[in-house]
Amino acid sequence: MVVVKSVTCPICGSLCDDIELTIENNEVVKVKNGCALCESKFLGYKGEHRIKTPLIRKDGKLMPVSLDEAIHKAAEILANANYPILYGWSSTSCEAQRIGVELAEEIGGVIDNTAVVCHGPSILSVQEVGIPTCTLGQIRHRADLIIYWGCDPWSAHPRHLERYTAFTEGRFEKSDWKGYIQKVKAAAGKKKIESAVRRGVVKRPKAQPMLQHELVNAPPPTLMKEGRKLIVVDARKSMTAEMADYFIQVEPNKDYEVMQAIRALIRDQELDVDKVGGVPVEYLEEVADAMVNCNFGVIFFGMGLTQTAGKFRNIEVAISLIRDLNKRTKFVIMPMRGHFNVTGANVVFTWQSGYPYGVDFSLGYPRYNPGETTCMDILLRGESDATLVIAADPGATFPRRAVEHMAKTPLIVIDPHMNATAMLGDVVIPSAFVGIESEGTAYRMDHVPLPLKKVVDPPKGLLSDEEILRRILEEVRAIKAKKMREAEAA
């Protein structure tokens, strides 16, 4: 039995790196410090959906084959394709992503990552107006106003609050929460913490969570309390909203208007309406005051902002709000990146090609034009003639028309699991779980790189994504060289 400390959790963009795993007979038997998502992954990753052997579709059915055969077949498909797509990348290591870009360049294909369906609009906004941001520790040490907008960290990034924001303690921001949570944690399991936190919220002075119906009738609560304040803005009352000092329920798809209203208020403009996006203006005034009067504020935003009406405009106005605020006080903004290494995919693509996603190498140099060069654009236009999917499941998340085209053309899938995409695949190559069975690097949502550990051996015969890709790339080059020789001979 060994205990491995400081393990990085390969699940969400919080990338907690303090996980302690107990390993017995090449199996994880105990998880310490992790959240429920983390625990279930480390204890359950071996589950029934694991692909055990490479598969190739023969006569309509996926049949087991040797790894060499699967790799050769995959390379053949890619080497012969005119306009292949390499998609996914958000749940694998930067090392694998690096080879991915090289492979895309070699075959003149398009490489794209899951940003196209989550934070693509955020990236476009950064390219338009920039972004005032920081690492998460800055927030822990300094932020006295924390706003989550269109996201629910309590469910999607469970330890975000406890490690980086509202319930942490920093050099300049003390918290009575930290000790409390740790005590409870030592004593009990997750459920208890949850309820304790909620009880705690109720006990906090002047920190009543406001519900939508109460909001309408009650006078605005003061946000001028001591210490850190937590505001949640969302279309629905999420778990995080329940813990907030202040919850603003915005009508669905009205974030843009609300954000613009706050911008106006910050510029000391009067609003001549009573409500914006369903929120009484007094409440927005309260929020605007809190923003201007804080020492260090932050807005975290999620898909509730990037994937609702307005998308790109929502983020642009959010960042513009932060730009304005910086003339009054210190304020930053950060996207809540979902997959543990979607940030890394953007980072690696950018340093190698100049562009973060949707990079098209078909002309021999990188091109980037979202709306034209992302895999979604290409699939919907039906232009690609082969797809490699790695560490993602577009079969389950993409629009039907895109999936149909993907299934119609040769499809290679590299994944530990038999997911929806793999079931459509023509070549399926099972891989080791990165961060559990193979090592690498991942970037936290704030761009801090962290090492992923290999804590157990993968099932026999399974390679890491990195290795599989390296072998495919070599094979592609061999096939191309052979073709060249044949062409010369003829």
Binding site: P132, T135, R323, Q352, Y355, P356, Y365, H447
Partner: protein
């Protein structure tokens, strides 16, 4: 290994006092040797060509978190300069924030073989190294940002230089860095709450320390650790009118640390710190006052930070300065503060000839270069990409070697800048020997890189050959031909192998990452207490913080024995 004989070139090797003599250079196993077997060796006929050590760049932002965010935010910069894949080279994009591969190729094509990446947030050091691994053709090293690191502030405040030195040593080795980088000392910590410091004697909020304490403290630490380079300083108030006074204060403050004639500090991109005037309307050059001081003292070196009239991307750890640029320009703006350590900012910027301030900046850098008498104190940079992209270096060379060249540019500048410029009164024209000093020899010397920047026996066989015949042409007159030659080396030789021929890459090499393994007699204690403190200061675990060996593709540690 290959043997190489470079025959009959005009050799400029200032470290060995060789000034354009016709001679042969022999290479074996990647090093310069006395002689090789002429029949076995590959011979390069360098008759009529200029031979220099490979170029060394002391300050260029080419890798890491900040540079990459610069790339991310500038697709419009990339589309105007795309680079195709070839059988030998990777594709990419160029201009002001080139992709990593293109960075390596372009430097190599100019005859450069070593670059220093000056701005590495320790927490994100892995990122910097991953990018350096993907920057081929060059040896490289990188400076961790340490001037506002809480450990440094706390130990200096306590006056505990020894403990401070131990932690700095630990940090340099842990991040695989090369030198102590200080940016707007105290200002970056203040920026954590949106503030800044304005003089070198301002208090840093909550830390009870001043920029003066930080710079002098770290200069002393630098000495105690026997680091090969000096502290590398980006001054307070950078980029603001009247800041030459702060710069003079800074240089005077550092005098107290100096002993003998050895430099104790490098003031980087000095142009940005040499503004006189009270505001943007009255902004003018402070180069005369600054160079007067530098000529009278020997404890400093500096690099130019030349401005190029083009569209570029400014990026620096000086978050508050970039905020000022944002307020001035309203451009897209990135701010990126790093917990416990540093900050950062990025803004696209277009330097224009017909803008009085920009044109004055252009003039200031050249005035500094030309008014400082000793070329060993002064190095050619643009603070890439802050003053302009590095591929503009040949233009700067032309301005330095030719009064005619600089007057031609000055004539096209804003009238006010023309009137204020000191350039018309400066006659000095650099020789090729001077150019060899300010683009390689001097930089290598200031960096303490013993095997770089010269062609003596035992040196690394990093060599640049340019199509310039100093016997045939008057370089001041034919500055355009010289400019072309420096932009496209006839040969670049890296570790004894020909990697560039006629300005094209003919061989891909990875290049090494050089870093300092600083050994202190007593090392930092890594105990539970340290780990606890670590947890308090950062949001990552102590165990996950270091740049592990496998993050450096070709690792070249230099062991340094410290005095503490």
């Amino acid at each position: 290994m290959t043997e190489l004989l470079i025959k009959n070139g005009f050799v400029f090797d200032p470290i060995n006092g060789i000034n354009g003599e016709k001679m042969d250079i022999a290479v074996k196993n990647g090093k310069i040797v006395k002689s090789v077997n002429e029949r076995k060796a590959k011979v390069i006929d360098a008759t009529g060509l200029t031979v220099m050590p490979g170029g060394v760049d002391i300050h260029t932002h080419i890798a890491g978190a900040e540079v990459n965010t610069g790339r991310l935010m500038r697709p419009e910069d990339h589309v105007k300069d795309v680079v195709r894949k070839t059988a030998l080279t990777r594709s990419g994009v160029g201009y002001s924030v080139p992709s990593t591969f293109v960075t390596g190729y372009r430097y190599s094509k100019m005859g450069y073989t070593m670059i220093m990446n000056p701005s590495m947030p320790p927490l994100e050091a892995k990122h910097t190294h991953e990018e350096l691994n993907d920057t081929p053709m060059l040896d490289k090293a990188t400076y961790p940002l340490l001037g506002d690191w809480w450990f440094v502030l706390e130990y200096l405040r306590k006056g505990d230089l020894t403990e401070c030195a131990r932690y700095v040593a630990w940090m340099i080795a842990t991040t695989k860095g090369y030198a102590i980088k200080i940016v707007n000392p105290g200002g970056l910590e203040s920026w954590g709450f949106g503030r800044n410091v304005r003089t070198i004697d301002d208090q840093v909020p909550y830390f009870g320390i001043t920029p003066r304490d930080i710079m002098c403290g770290l200069a002393k630490v630098n000495k105690m650790l026997n680091l090969p380079h000096t502290i590398h300083v980006h001054t307070n108030n950078l980029g603001l009118p009247g800041n030459y006074l702060t710069t003079l204060d800074t240089m005077r403050a550092l005098e107290s640390v100096a002993t003998g004639d050895k430099p104790v500090a490098h003031i980087t991109h000095l142009q940005f710190s040499s503004f006189a005037g009270n505001d943007w309307g009255t902004m003018r050059s402070g180069a005369e006052e600054i160079t007067k001081y530098i000529n009278a003292h020997n404890h400093l070196t500096f690099d130019m930070g030349q401005v190029i009239f083009t569209d570029t991307t400014t990026m620096t750890a000086d978050g508050p300065f970039e905020f000022t640029l944002y307020e001035l320009s309203g451009h897209k703006w990135v701010n990126s503060d790093v917990e416990t350590e540093t900050s950062g900012g990025i803004i696209p910027f277009h330097y224009k000839r017909n803008n009085a301030v920009n044109a004055t900046q252009w003039s200031i850098a050249l005035e500094l270069a030309l008014l400082v008498k000793d070329p060993w104190k002064m190095f050619l940079t643009t603070d890439h990409p802050n003053g302009g992209p590095f591929f503009a270096y040949p233009k700067i060379i032309a301005w330095l070697i030719s009064k005619r060249a600089r007057m031609a540019t000055l004539k096209k500048c804003h009238k006010k800048a023309q009137k204020l410029s000191l350039l018309p009164s400066i006659k000095r024209e650099f020789t090729l020997y001077d150019i060899a000093i300010v683009t390689r020899a001097g930089q290598a010397k200031a960096l303490g890189l013993k095997d770089k920047g010269h062609l003596g026996v035992g040196a690394d066989a990093d060599i640049a050959i340019y199509d310039i015949n100093p016997e045939k042409i008057d370089i001041a007159k034919k500055y355009k031909a010289v400019r072309r030659a420096f932009g496209s080396a006839a040969y670049t030789i890296k570790d004894g192998e020909i990697v560039v021929k006629d300005g094209e890459i003919v061989k891909h090499v990875d290049g090494r990452t050089i870093w300092l393994d600083v050994k202190t007699a007593e090392q930092v204690k890594v105990d539970e207490e340290m780990k606890r403190r670590f947890k308090e200061y950062w949001t990552v675990e102590y165990d996950n913080y270091p740049v592990f060996d496998h993050y450096v593709k070709v690792s070249c540690p230099l062991t340094i024995k410290a005095d503490v």
